[in-house]
């Protein structure tokens, strides 16, 4: 039998619990059983059985779902398929977010009360690279225009600026000493 909570590991414990007067029996693996530790509120279990929600939203075995579309979504970095993600309810790596991006908006909106974009803290490093990347983008646009208009002196200046910013990007990781 597979664990009722994570749906991943084999169940090794039967947990009986009375909640609001209703007795429930759940077969859990050692990890999930530990998570349900009697006196421990400090560490959250998944606030909701995440993999269950996901597979309700994206029924994996439903014949109406286009099977071809499902097959191709594989994360090139960790090898997780979109189905792996749905079954486990967890990402395998940072690249998964890009690989599964087309489906994520829907998932995040449901999990976070309609929200789909981060508005909080930004790591200092990403803050500055993000700015530089946007500047480079802008300079490249101008560069293209000046080449088209045969303003080569201006183009050379812009190219130097792009080079300078690219150097900063590459060296950005070891700014702090």
């Amino acid at each position: 039998m597979i664990c009722n909570q994570c749906g991943e590991r084999p169940a090794s414990v039967l947990v009986k619990q009375k909640r609001n007067g209703q007795l429930t029996e759940r077969h859990l693996c050692h990890v999930c059983a530990a998570e349900n530790h009697n006196l421990n509120l400090a560490f959250e279990q998944d606030p909701l059985a995440i993999h269950q929600l996901l597979s309700n939203w994206f029924p994996v075995h439903s014949p109406s779902v286009n099977p071809v579309k499902k097959e191709v979504t594989v994360c090139p970095s960790c090898g997780f398929t979109f189905n792996n993600f749905l079954k486990l309810g967890k990402f395998g790596c940072a690249t998964c977010y890009e690989a599964f991006e087309s489906n994520l908006e829907e998932i995040f909106k449901r999990l976070h009360n309609g929200n789909k974009e981060h508005t909080g803290k930004i790591p200092a490093f990403y803050g500055s690279t993000l700015k530089i990347k946007k500047e480079i983008e802008e300079l490249r646009k101008q560069l293209k225009i000046s080449i088209e208009e045969e303003e080569f002196e201006e183009a050379a200046k812009l190219r130097d600026q792009v080079r300078e910013l690219n150097k900063q990007l590459e060296g950005g990781a070891d700014h702090g000493d």
Partner: protein, 366 residues
């Protein structure tokens, strides 16, 4: 051994009682989830990657912790016995997930036990900041300072649109879970809590209790925390939680007053019976101990009981757990033997209280 200092059945500073609202708010916790950009997350990484992640994060904390006035003890989870891991879990310093020791992993604990940093839990990095009482801003400040120190030295997995990238989509964005532990005996007695819980969950927050055999939350202790991590800033999340918690505290106060006004004798009787059980019983189950502790704590809050310290509920809820009882008794205990050890722990603790604060029984019982 480095770990020993954290295993003493001695109260950590976050279990003490300090500040406003501590009659109802017991403790505050902030948790930040982070991952490193260059490694696969713990559900997919190799053991070799796990070791590298552990080393990268640990060395920054050990080398540079003093820059944020923190000195950490590093504990490698695979070098610790299962009983000791269990003790750290019971003291809220590591999670059951980390204790399971699935991968190479560690915990770094600050001297005052207010910060614990877990490496290779569900995410590469889990920063946990604990404070006694109701102190969301202060707890966040400590966690955030450490986070900023780490991001200067490590490259986090971060996405322009999605924010901090975490293993679980329920943490994506800020990666922050903020929570406050609340003692809500009056809202539980009046059953108002059963209406409050679903109402709050519609507002992006969640209230949970510890449920044992009975239908009431163990010790009438509940935890309120944010459920949303995406689309709101850390500041907004903390502000929402602050406001909601203040409202619940206010409702608990009103419910307490109503019980005092309507049935003072019944309340007093219940509180003193519970004090009697904790002071004299020879067998004490977890459920009974938690129920009586809650009553006694309410008695202290209402000034019916004056010679026992308020922090008794916070502390004994921790130290009456199985691993601490066994550590205390220096041997493994069956569930039945634990009930004996638990009763002994309470008798001794209450005797100490009487010694320190002076036994007023003589004057009071005339």
């Amino acid at each position: 051994m480095a770990i020993d200092r954290f295993l003493e059945p001695k109260a950590s500073s976050w279990m003490a009682n300090a500040g406003d609202n501590t009659d109802i708010a017991m403790s505050t916790r902030i948790r930040l989830a982070r991952n490193l950009n260059d490694f696969k997350f713990p559900y997919a990484f190799t053991e070799d990657e796990a070791l590298k992640v552990d080393k990268a994060i640990s060395s920054v904390l050990l080398d540079r912790g003093e820059e944020v006035n923190q000195e950490f003890t590093h504990i490698d989870i695979h070098e610790v016995s299962s009983l000791h891991r269990e003790l750290l879990v019971e003291k809220h310093l590591i999670s059951p997930y980390l204790a399971a020791g699935i991968h190479a992993g560690s915990v770094l604990i600050s001297k005052n036990e207010e910060l614990s940093i877990m490496i290779n839990e569900e995410d590469h990095l889990r920063i946990q900041s604990l404070q006694s009482g109701f102190h969301l801003q202060e707890a966040y400040k400590v966690a955030n300072e450490l986070d900023s120190l780490l991001e200067e030295n490590l490259q986090y997995a971060f996405h322009e649109k999605f924010g901090y990238l975490t293993s679980c989509p329920t943490n994506t964005g800020t990666g922050m879970r903020a929570s406050v532990m609340l003692h809500l005996p009056a809202l539980t007695m009046s059953q108002q809590i059963t209406r409050i819980i679903p109402a709050i969950s519609r507002l992006g927050m969640v209230v949970r209790g510890i449920y044992g055999e009975g239908s009431e939350a163990l010790g009438n202790v509940y935890q309120i925390s944010n459920q949303l991590t995406l689309g709101k800033s850390e500041y907004e999340i903390l502000q929402d939680l602050q406001n909601m918690t203040e409202q619940i505290i206010e409702q608990e106060r009103r419910a307490r007053q109503a019980i005092v006004d309507n049935s003072p004798l019944k309340l007093e009787d219940r509180i003193y019976r519970s004090l009697g059980i904790l002071t004299y019983s020879r067998l004490l189950t977890t459920e009974e101990a938690a129920k009586c502790l809650s009553d006694v704590r309410l008695g202290i809050d209402l000034k019916l009981i004056e010679n026992i310290d308020m922090s008794i509920l916070n502390e004994l809820m921790i130290f009456m757990q199985p691993a601490f009882l066994q550590h205390y008794s220096k041997k493994p205990l069956s569930p039945g033997e634990r009930d004996i050890a638990r009763a002994k722990l309470f008798r001794e603790r209450l005797k100490e209280e009487h010694k320190i604060n002076g036994d007023k029984e003589g004057e009071d019982s005339v």
